[in-house]
Symmetry: C2
Subunit: 328 residues, 2 copies
């Protein structure tokens, strides 16, 4: 293991962003590849590739050696956004028209398909000995992400889901890819099986914490900070932790009031503050904060388990702590 | 090489069909996996897996050993049908509602995505030494198929395309997967590089011939034999060989008449026979037949090149000849 110094998340994000354009396929026709470039070069936090590179570096792998796989997880994430935006009829993504809104729905379907294919090409750029393991794990991860998205859509048509069902869904839809990214970095760096598994669990807990934080900010965040319409999930009838948890906590009367306020979009628009207050008075905002703390803590526990010098873990620790600071 | 006796295409088709259900993933939620089973178990000629198994057997591989990859190419083909049907607004597929018509469009997008992912899992069930080569080639093939589909859609919005452009498109959209299937069978069976490349070209020529035959039958076939609405491609403004070729052959006046007759769906419905007669009097029906003969012949030439005993090539020869008989 080469114990070169660790980069910060921000340094790795910049390095990743700078090299992203080098991996764009230059194919024909442009009507297919231009939308792909538009989707991939739209910015974003690049959380998954950064996590992959950080975990790789933790075990002594230089960022350059893990770049194809880092690009693959980011492309996979972007592919899911392109297709999810079609399914959710979302016309905007990061302040710009979504791919299907800018081009067309058929092109967005096809561009997403090509991106998904391309991911597997990038993923397989690894030492032959790791090929089978890596492709197999990536297939499992990708199937779980599809399952999570289907569940998320199924939940929209249900009046309510339990906290357990909700967590099952976000573990697949959101956390699985973060778990895979962390695992993939460890695997590529030659970490042992126990470390690979701990890295996977670290990413999984972190992913659940991230999604729960999104839930919190979607309802209680300041829109000038989040850049999103407040209550966006509520308006789209997306189930969130808050929605699931209040069913476990509140009395029948509160739930009836909630159902009435959320009965349609117009009612919800008028009563958004009342809905928030219902969540607050049932205490589910604080229960959600606690849950985020618990998952972050569980992630930090897995980080501690990794068999490298604690001094090398500082950057991944910071990444995890960043979460809690967003709550403050 | 084990020189066991060769199976006929029909025997391999039956064997493949019988084992197809064994490869269905049993996942959760059913709202995702049920549509996948519906799409995969819809029957069909299973041309691609049969070609893969036949080519494998030619070089001494037993069908069982190539089953995962045979299932993969059929699943990939089915995935393209599921997504293409959304893009083409096709409500029927093999006499039953298409996946998006039966379930919903979001579910059809996602089921297709999961099928595409699953293909890569099946494809990678091969000896480690072949993994990189096989996944890399499959990625190239799948990207070309996406490119072909995008071109096919682009062509719908053009008044005309050249024969060269048209052939470029169908080589990708249709022939590439047949080429890959033949190549994949040869590769898995341990054939040498020259044989792999000849197998690839065999499949490519065969694929172009197949697509050209579809073009011919779509316009001139008896609907009771083809099971399709006559002139379906014309009504959807799909470019075909006939449409491309007549631009090279006919005078300005004929082309103006053609454009007028095809100016809208109502006009086309009334004048379908006149359009066919225009193709006939310009001679492009016979030129298309010639083209099919040429591509079939080119496929047979590649078959001859393969370094196995000619007696073993009979079944693949028959498969190629079947094409011409459909013309008679």
């Amino acid at each position: 293991m080469i114990n070169h110094s660790m980069h910060s998340a921000e340094q790795l994000r910049e390095r990743f962003e700078a090299s992203l354009a080098d991996w764009l396929p230059q194919g024909n026709p442009d009507t297919l590849y231009e939308p792909i470039r538009y989707a991939v070069m739209a910015g974003g936090k690049r959380t998954r590739p950064v996590l992959l590179l950080m975990m790789g570096e933790l075990f002594g792998l230089s960022p350059e050696q893990a770049l194809p796989q880092a690009v693959a997880v980011e492309w996979f994430h972007t592919f899911t956004l392109v297709h999810d935006d079609i399914m959710d009829h979302a016309e905007l993504r990061r302040g710009r028209p979504s791919v299907h809104a800018k081009y067309s729905q058929p092109t967005a379907i096809l561009a997403g398909d090509a991106m998904l294919v391309y991911c597997f090409g990038l993923m397989s750029r690894c030492p032959s000995a790791l090929q089978k393991e890596l492709i197999g794990s990536f297939v499992n991860c990708a199937l779980k992400v599809c399952e999570g998205q289907q569940l998320d859509m199924d939940f929209e048509r249900l009046p309510a889901v339990s906290v357990k069902e909700y967590l099952y869904m976000i573990e697949r839809k959101t956390a699985e890819l973060l778990a895979f990214s962390a695992y993939c970095g460890a695997l590529l760096a030659g970490a042992g099986q126990q470390d690979q598994q701990a890295a996977y669990r670290f990413g999984k807990h972190l992913g659940v914490a991230f999604q729960l934080m999104d839930d919190y900010l979607d309802t209680f965040g300041e829109s000038q900070l989040t850049g999103k319409t407040p209550g966006g999930d509520l308006f789209r009838n997306k189930k969130t932790y808050l929605h699931a948890k209040i069913r476990e906590q509140a009395d029948q009367q509160t739930l009836q009031t909630l159902d009435r306020l959320m009965s349609d979009t117009d009612s919800l628009r008028e009563n958004l503050e009342s809905v928030k207050n219902l969540f607050r008075s049932a205490g589910v905002d604080r229960l959600l904060q606690n849950e985020i703390e618990c998952y972050s803590e569980a992630a930090l526990q897995e980080l501690k388990r990794l068999s490298v010098d604690p001094s090398r873990k500082k950057e991944l620790g910071k990444l995890t702590e960043t979460l809690k600071r967003r709550l403050a």
